[in-house]
Symmetry: C2
Subunit: 137 residues, 2 copies
Amino acid sequence: MQDSAGTDTAAAIGPCAGIPADRMAFIRQVLDRVGDKWSMLIVAVLEDGPLRYTDLQRQIPGISQRMLTHTLRQLQEDGLITRSAYAEVPPRVEYALAPLSRGLKDIVMELIRWASEHHDDIRANRAQSGAASSSPS
Amino acid sequence: MQDSAGTDTAAAIGPCAGIPADRMAFIRQVLDRVGDKWSMLIVAVLEDGPLRYTDLQRQIPGISQRMLTHTLRQLQEDGLITRSAYAEVPPRVEYALAPLSRGLKDIVMELIRWASEHHDDIRANRAQSGAASSSPS
DNA sequence: CGGTATCCGCTAGGATACTG
DNA sequence: CAGTATCCTAGCGGATACCG
């Protein structure tokens, strides 16, 4: 707690849009890490339970090995997921959510639910905006 | 649209995540739109009330006109924010959250709060992982 | 004030091939 | 099975200059 004025960081955003510029920086960092395409999907998929590498690949259609590996490492380095490698043959590696991501998982699920519920509206709006050329001479 | 048959493994996400592989596609789209660096910040800042262009620039340190304008257009086209231009002099343009983003705003605020609360842990974990190369003699 | 347009570096991220 | 390494392109995103 660095703020002596008693202004809770999160609370400060509510009453006043004046988010201290300092906070903005790390919020951006976290958002950038956690908010990218694949991280959220991985967290969401892992929410159901531990999964192996290839299972993750199958669960997340369209992800490349490169991105899967990369994102997993990022999440692992941030302590959001754990990697358990079993030295057996064939080798098995399981990824699971770490305690740290308990709260995040919840938020991600909400976000996904929101996306599910409103993607129609969004698409509609998007189409409407794009359809501005519906007035030929 | 390459995958139409077979793997019911996607159904394995079902219980809690409940993400049919089909949904995954548009979820990715929404996540991609909403999950980029600036969109969330703009939504967060706008949560407090309508703001003008320059105000947004001030509230979000580090954003360029290009990105501000671009992101605002995206959000607007998705119907997440509204743009009100008043033809007066000097010209005034106000951006505000649209009804559609009511729920999103909430989630974003939660995410930011989570980021605020756990960025220390994340940084610690990140540093620890990076410190693996403390090659002692 | 509230943008638009252009140049440009950087890197996210896919495809492919190879390894332990 | 679980990655690593390399190549390569699209577009993100900053800086700058200019317009209504």
